[in-house]
């Protein structure tokens, strides 16, 4: 068994120092670009600056859900606690990011489309995904650490990702494809300025690092939880 220092706060150079520091620096640079350096988009004006974070929030969340499926499959095959902890952490942070997509999306849509919510294919898909992973976390909470429920959650983690392509096709057929925001007939519209591309790249890096950091923190606390439970069990036995 590992020593006590594993449980208590020993600093890990990568996840405790480098990752948060990098995240902070990247986030500040991204903010600087999004609010100061980048010019206003010609057609949508200042509101378009929501886009820089909104889009990456969505991509990180979807990436997180794919990760949930991968770690779930790994957990089912090997029963590895690490895999299960990462599945849970990715689902939780992914749900947080999806929630933010659903908040920033309407705030962008209102000034551009005139309504907070439209049944746009992407918005629709996002809200259904939100429900799938909210149910996933709900199942885990109801299970209270019961191994059977953890296995069920892993099955749901895999099934949830299988649903995504079907969902994408369904909502596209259903609502048709709305004019993509970046592709407009107006030659002035879109990401014309090179600093805008940098804004996209930098906010992508910042949110990617933040996602990784939050997931690693969340998974680590779950690991400590597991060890504590194990030790409590051991000392009871003695």
């Amino acid at each position: 068994m590992s020593s006590r220092s594993d449980v208590a706060g020993r600093l890990r150079p990568w996840s405790d120092v480098a990752l948060p520091a990098l995240t902070g620096v990247a986030m500040l640079t991204a903010i600087l670009f999004v609010f100061v350096v980048v010019p206003d988009e010609k057609v949508q004006g200042v509101v378009q600056r929501i886009f820089y974070f909104h889009v990456h929030l969505a991509w990180m969340a979807f990436g997180g859900f794919v990760f949930v499926a991968a770690t779930s499959a790994w957990y089912l095959r090997t029963g590895s606690r690490v895999a299960d902890r990462y599945a849970e952490a990715n689902a939780e942070v992914g749900l947080l990011f999806t929630t933010l997509v659903l908040i920033t999306g309407p705030l962008w849509a209102r000034p551009i489309w005139g309504v907070y919510w439209t049944w746009d294919p992407r918005l629709t898909m996002t809200v259904v995904l939100w429900a799938i992973y909210a149910a996933y976390l709900m199942l885990r909470r109801l299970g209270n650490g019961d191994e059977t429920i953890l296995r069920y959650a892993a099955v749901l983690g895999i099934v949830g990702v299988l649903d995504i392509p079907l969902l994408i096709i369904a909502v596209r057929l259903w609502r048709g494809i709305h004019p993509a925001v970046m592709l407009s007939d107006d030659p002035e519209a879109g990401l014309r300025d090179p600093t805008m591309i940098w804004g996209v790249i930098l906010s992508g890096i910042a949110l990617g690092l933040l996602f990784a950091w939050l997931v690693s923190l969340r998974a680590r606390f779950a690991a400590i939880d597991d060890q504590l439970a194990l030790r409590a069990l051991e000392s009871e036995r003695r």
Binding site: L142, V155, V159, A170
Partner: protein, 219 residues
């Protein structure tokens, strides 16, 4: 596999529990729709199809909840898990039994709905049975897998719809569309993409359930 189908159907024939409760529930849901929305405005194939599938999903989920409860309560779960059949076949057997219940319910419900909603201009084509079979098959595939999972938890009545409704979203969209098209005899070209989507949904989730049921049945 067929022995499980036969067993479930035999129990059902004796008690009639599942089907009668499912139908009664479906009827009540239809009434709820009529009371809460202006019934005179709910005319047309689209409403018949939409309400049919919403009702089937709501009532079907509640009925599917019962699907594994019998095994849990009678202590037959271990017997089911120990039975010499491979787990995938148990899943398929359960799914087929549930599919038959849902199909019967859909077939009884559809004319009732058309009648209640006073729809005119109904000219069913073969698309109608196709959409109903494909739709209920996907529903049974997902519902059976999740009801086995939910039957293990404290809050199973809430959990099954919570787990299955979002996953069933693409199925509901496609099934309502194709059923509406089948009711008025629209040509196939209009909905061929939807039919393919329904078929893909069935295939994906039947396979997923068949492969993962091993982990669900294990204690």
């Amino acid at each position: 596999m067929w022995s499980i189908v036969r067993k479930d159907l035999a129990i059902e024939r004796r008690t009639g529990e599942m089907l009668s409760s499912l139908l009664l529930l479906a009827l009540l849901v239809v009434l709820l729709f009529a009371f809460s929305l202006e019934p005179e405005r709910l005319r047309g194939a689209e409403f018949v199809a939409g309400i049919l599938w919403t009702t089937l999903l709501l009532a079907g989920t509640l009925a599917l909840n019962r699907s594994f409860v019998l095994e849990r309560e009678a202590g037959a779960w271990t017997a089911l898990a120990l039975c010499p059949l491979d787990r995938g076949s148990i899943y398929l057997g359960k799914t087929i039994a549930n599919l038959i219940f849902l199909l019967v319910a859909a077939v009884l419900l559809l004319p009732l709905l058309a009648l209640f909603l006073g729809t005119t201009g109904i000219a069913p084509s073969w698309l109608l049975p196709a959409s109903i079979v494909l739709g209920t098959a996907g529903f049974a595939a997902v519902g059976t897998l999740f009801s086995a999972m939910a039957s293990r938890t404290r809050a199973r009545e809430v959990l099954l719809p919570l787990l299955s409704f979002p996953i069933l979203a693409p199925l509901l969209i496609a099934a309502a569309r194709t059923t509406a098209a089948g009711l008025v005899g629209e040509p196939l070209e209009h909905v061929s993409a939807w039919l393919v989507l329904l078929g893909a949904f069935d295939l994906v989730f039947l396979t997923a359930g068949w492969l993962t049921f091993d982990y669900v049945l294990e204690e």
